[in-house]
Amino acid sequence: MYGYQMTQRAKELTKGELEMTEGALYPLLHKLEGDGLITSEIQKINGRDRKYYLLTDKGKKQQAAQEAEMKTYLFNLNTIFNI
């Protein structure tokens, strides 16, 4: 996925609730790339360079771990508030 696509996908999935600011997105993507969690490849689209980002194996593991952590957190919150 490329930067703009990510902002639109986040908006679409959250029905407009989550609006990613571009300025926050790109520094974060560069940081994740520096940490080896994502990798990028440049493709020529209509004569201009487009940078696509992909998860690395390390990134996929990190994503799975974070997802599990978040699910546990949400489950616990739900348990507390549904008492």
């Binding site: 930067g3 600011t21 300025g23 790109y26 520094p27 520096g34």
Partner: protein, 203 residues
């Protein structure tokens, strides 16, 4: 559909922000897609361009490169560079602490560590020069970059200051200068490594 003249207008707007080529290309592509999408909703190019510029206003605002600099760069560029430079400084400090431990507890191996670092530095330099990835002028600019000099001055004040007050007369015997050298070489190696990977760390 965005015309060539309109594309040039976007390019010249971004050029004024003095962005590095990697970030500039990425933002340029983002601008083109965002404007094209807005134009699909019956907005004119100028309206769509203005809306996109407003969305990016805060990130493309020109700010001081760092506290002591007069140079102005875009806020988004500063955020990216600061994060990378902070990582370089942090890993150099961690490595220097490791060197400190080696110097005190495994003193006989300290020279091996110094040789290892120097060999790595020379290899990276040769690699960059032989494969023409870097000119000598660029290496000179990299070594004497204001940001590096400021950090080295700050580092030397800290290292030598702490060394002087804690070790008093045995200051030089303790080898605080050797530790500082490790810190400086660790920074140099990382800068060269990023340079080899064509990742911008300094402007």
């Amino acid at each position: 559909m965005i015309s060539i003249i309109q594309q040039q207008e976007i390019k010249s707007f971004l050029q004024k922000r003095n962005l590095s080529p990697v970030i500039s290309n990425e933002i340029y592509d983002h601008f083109i897609v965002q404007i094209s999408e807005l134009m699909k909703n019956n907005l004119s190019f100028q309206e769509a361009f203005l809306k996109t510029k407003l969305d990016w206003q805060s990130e493309l605002e020109m700010v001081k490169a760092d506290l002591f600099s007069f140079k102005k760069i875009a806020k988004i560029e500063k955020t990216v560079l600061q994060s990378r430079f902070r990582n370089i400084i942090l890993s150099s400090i961690v490595f220097t602490m490791f060197g400190f431990a080696v110097l005190f507890f495994l003193n006989d191996y300290f020279y091996l560590m110094q040789i290892g670092l120097l060999v790595t530095l020379v290899c990276l330099l040769l690699y960059n020069f032989i494969l023409k990835k870097m000119k000598f002028r660029e290496y000179y600019e990299l070594s004497f970059h204001p940001l590096i000099l400021r950090n080295l001055i700050l580092g030397s004040v800290l290292f030598f200051g702490v060394g002087y007050f804690t070790q008093s007369m045995n200051f030089w015997e303790v080898g605080i200068n050797k530790i500082f050298l490790i810190y400086a070489i660790a920074i140099q190696i990382q800068l060269l490594y990023f340079r080899t990977k064509k990742v911008n760390v300094l402007l």
